[in-house]
């Protein structure tokens, strides 16, 4: 503390920048922690996007206006969207395994990381960084002009290599994700013949939705006795448990209607419906068909 008072601080940030820094630092660090702690990859990606936006504003505050704009366009615009696309392709449900492959690896990693952080920050604190020249002179002709002058004179070779790197990366991505079709695609006729040969489900699958009340693909169609038809909903929705069930409600309404009808016809007990026995007998075949189709 004594040495800090002894050497005056030059190029200090203004009060406005200090306030901005503390707000942005909190946003950036909480975003980074959220990225590490969130279980789902989508949430991690969104937290990281917040951190990157905070860093972009930091760059602009430090006089690197061009880099701030590039950060927003390239990182939050292009790279994070690419991440979200891959999360969509690979599956939102791809969560971390709770089981550790190496015993105690997580705790060791956290302790090692803490030690690393303490060393890094102590090293910075030990350095006497009291004189900040500031970018007023370097940015005198404009930040973009200054950067352009450097890129196209001193760093022009690195800049051209960068172009080669980007082309290589684009071709590499295409080669890696390209898949050769090893067998000929089955025609509609062959698929129909195969379906008859297997004999599990000849007809099209039942349609979803209880029409006139709900029509959405996440609502299963109802069988004559009011139970839901599992086959009418997409297997992915079934696996995720995103199936909306309306059969309980429908059964209750049907029961009320029958009682009302019985009262109106002056009968005590409504006659048993034939369709219940029919569908109960038919239900095992439906389950078998579903197993075979998967």
């Amino acid at each position: 503390m004594m040495t800090e008072l002894a050497t005056p601080l030059t190029g200090a940030a203004s009060t406005g920048e200090a306030v901005q820094f503390w707000v942005l630092a909190v946003v950036a660090v909480s975003g980074a922690l959220g990225m590490v702690l969130c279980r789902k990859a989508v949430h991690s990606a969104l937290c990281l996007a917040g951190t990157m936006l905070a860093l972009a504003v930091c760059y602009m505050a430090e006089g690197a206006v061009f880099l701030g704009v590039v950060q927003i366009i390239v990182y939050t615009g292009a790279i994070m969207m690419l991440f979200l696309f891959v999360v969509m392709l690979v599956g939102v449900t791809a969560e971390d395994a709770a089981k550790e492959a190496l015993k105690g690896q997580r705790w060791a990693a956290v302790i090692g990381g803490l030690g690393f952080g303490v060393l890094l920050i102590a090293g910075i604190a030990n350095a006497k960084l009291r004189t900040f020249t500031g970018l007023q002179q370097a940015n005198a002709a404009g930040n973009v002009q200054g950067l352009a002058k450097l890129i196209f004179t001193q760093y022009v070779w690195a800049f051209e290599i960068t172009g080669a790197l980007l082309i290589t990366a684009a071709i590499g991505a295409m080669v890696l994700t390209h898949r050769e079709l090893t067998e000929t695609r089955q025609s509609q006729r062959e698929l129909a013949l195969q379906r008859v040969r297997l004999g599990t489900q000849l007809t099209p699958l039942p349609a979803p939705g209880v029409y006139a009340r709900h029509n959405a693909v996440d609502i299963p169609g109802l069988l004559p006795d009011g139970r839901i038809s599992e086959l009418s909903v997409n297997p992915t929705l079934r696996a995720r448990g995103q199936m909306r069930d309306v059969s309980g409600d429908m059964l209750q309404r049907m029961g009320e209607l029958e009682v009302g009808t019985a009262v109106w016809l002056d009968r005590r007990t409504p006659a048993p419906r034939r369709s219940v026995e029919l569908t109960k007998a038919a239900s095992p075949t439906e389950a078998e068909a579903e197993e075979a189709s998967e």
């Binding site: 601080l9 190029g11 940030a13 920048e17 200090a18 820094f21 630092a25 660090v29 980074a32 990225m35 990859a41 991690s44 990606a45 990281l48 951190t51 930091c58 430090e62 690197a64 061009f66 880099l67 590039v70 950060q71 990182y75 790279i79 690419l82 991440f83 891959v86 392709l89 690979v90 791809a94 971390d96 395994a97 492959a101 990693a109 956290v110 990381g113 690393f116 952080g117 890094l120 920050i121 910075i124 960084l129 900040f132 020249t133 500031g134 970018l135 002179q137 370097a138 950067l147 890129i151 760093y155 690195a158 790197l165 980007l166 290589t168 990366a169 684009a170 590499g172 890696l176 994700t177």
Partner: protein
């Protein structure tokens, strides 16, 4: 405020990214942690550019961004092709060279 605080922030973000790489097992999140580490080093470079009063630090940060973009494209393509063969994005499941 001393602008060196930006370097402290960069060190903190870098540490969080490094711990994330070691702790998480999902390959996509791992890549995000690497991106965070690159961003933290960019912040330090921009602050050093301000410290020295020239733009070379910003140029290097700019090249880091380009390299990060190329790295992400290839890395995510690898993750997608690994996911196709193994149906898993966990780095623990990829313990064989070929399947």
């Amino acid at each position: 405020m001393n602008p060196v605080n930006y370097v402290y922030l960069a060190a903190l973000l870098f540490t969080i990214g490094a711990v994330g790489v070691l702790v998480r097992r999902n390959a996509i999140v791992l890549f995000m942690c690497v991106e965070l580490m690159l961003n933290a080093s960019n912040l330090a470079l921009v602050t050093f550019s301000r410290l020295h009063g020239n733009l070379d630090g910003q140029i290097i940060a700019f090249f880091t961004m380009v390299v990060a973009a190329a790295e992400v494209v290839v890395g995510l393509a690898i993750i997608v092709s690994v996911f196709r063969t193994r149906h898993s994005a966990s780095v623990d499941d990829s313990n064989l060279m070929k399947l």
